[in-house]
């Protein structure tokens, strides 16, 4: 397993644990089941989709399914995780999504930040003073994964504040989706890639914005 995935997994597990500790006792079991279901579905579908996209038939090479390190399709994994969480948590959809928003942001932030363990934080060339060279004597480069981690950390703080006043309304979860996708979309131009995913991040930002508007309008009226 890549260190970045390991870092994200460890922080997510810690954040889920903290979320469960803070949740009411009767909420813990369904929250745990929903989170676990979402994670497993996301990894499995993301891996199968990555194999299909790269021309490897999962039926002809079933052993490759467990080579998670070989790639997990981000879009498919996210879609599968969200659909699974939505299905498993359908009886209390918005409270469930709100409860899992912070662990998701923490995991994403750690995934980006743990690039330091693999020396893979760098992006495109920059003249900014904090640029870091990839090789001795090379050009300075944006530490783009650190930017993303900090943006997600900021998103974590915003969503934590929203949870204090709007827990269960769906507003924190919608804001988390919009902010997380925005963090990725904003840093993507600084990241050398073989195949960009900007349209998907843009779609996620737009979806998050629509959900924020909807959940804001639908939030319970505050007591005077």
């Amino acid at each position: 397993m890549e260190f970045t995935l390991l870092g994200a997994a460890l922080v997510s597990v810690g954040a889920v644990w903290a979320t469960l500790r803070l949740a009411d006792e009767e909420e813990r079991r369904p929250l745990f089941d929903t989170a676990l279901g979402g994670i497993l579905a996301g990894v499995a579908v993301g891996r199968v989709w990555a194999m299909i996209a790269s021309g490897v038939n999962p039926i002809a090479h079933p052993g490759d399914l467990v080579v998670v390190r070989g790639g997990v399709d981000t879009v498919a994994a996210t879609a599968a995780a969200v659909i699974t969480v939505g299905y498993l948590g359908r009886k209390a959809l918005w409270p469930t999504l709100d409860a899992l928003a912070l662990p998701a942001l923490a995991g994403l932030s750690a995934w980006h930040a743990s690039c330091v363990l693999r020396d893979s934080c760098l992006g495109t060339v920059t003249d900014l003073p904090w640029g870091i060279a990839a090789s001795a004597g090379g050009h300075g480069r944006h530490p783009v994964e650190i930017y993303a981690a900090l943006l997600l950390l900021g998103s974590f703080a915003v969503v934590a504040l929203l949870l204090r006043r709007h827990r269960g309304s769906g507003l924190p979860a919608a804001a988390a989706l919009m902010l997380a996708a925005g963090a990725r979309l904003g840093t993507e131009p600084l990241r050398p890639v073989l195949a960009g995913l900007e349209p998907w991040y843009l779609a996620a930002v737009a979806l998050g914005a629509v959900l924020v508007g909807w959940r804001w309008a639908a939030r319970p009226a505050e007591q005077p």
């Binding site: 790269s54 790639g71 893979s120 990839a134």
Partner: protein, 153 residues
């Protein structure tokens, strides 16, 4: 999902094994000469058909060749393998656009300073080693070091 799997079978990147030529044998001297004489950056990927991680990075290498093949020379060094399995591997992943060489004893990676499989070496024009990736390479790392080669540092 079944439809997607079916689509895979129909639109696979695989090619017929008969379309893959026998890999020419190579040795450290030939590769050193190739690197020293190359006017463009060279990426040397050391692989083997029996190597599991090589399977996982093969689609990435195919994508990289499609994107960067006109600016970077991609060389594949097949080690501790046999020709039939090697050609089947190339055919399965559609890696025929790479410049593959056959190095049964694994002398080339040892000479270049690496051990194990897979390995990916990134060389600047003229043969200066810029980066050596031990083990499987991911998209981010591959894209970063190709960009480093492209801008000269």
């Amino acid at each position: 999902m079944a439809l997607a799997v079916l689509a895979t079978a129909c639109s696979s990147a695989s090619i017929a094994i008969d379309d893959v030529p026998v890999l020419p044998e190579t040795d450290p001297g030939e590769i050193a000469e190739l690197l020293a004489d190359s006017p463009i950056p060279v990426v040397v990927n050391v692989w083997a058909s029996w190597c599991g991680p090589c399977r996982s990075e093969a689609p990435l290498l195919r994508a990289a060749v499609a994107e960067w093949g006109d600016r970077v020379h991609f060389v594949g060094i097949d080690v501790r393998d046999n020709q039939t399995e090697a050609r089947a591997f190339i055919a399965e992943f559609g890696l025929d656009e790479m410049d593959h060489r056959f190095d049964r004893p694994g002398a080339v990676p040892a000479d270049l300073g690496g051990s194990g499989v897979p390995l990916t070496f990134f060389f600047a024009p003229g043969g200066e080693l810029v980066h050596l990736q031990h083990g499987v390479i991911d998209e981010r790392t591959l894209a970063l070091w190709l960009d480093v080669l492209a801008v000269g540092g």
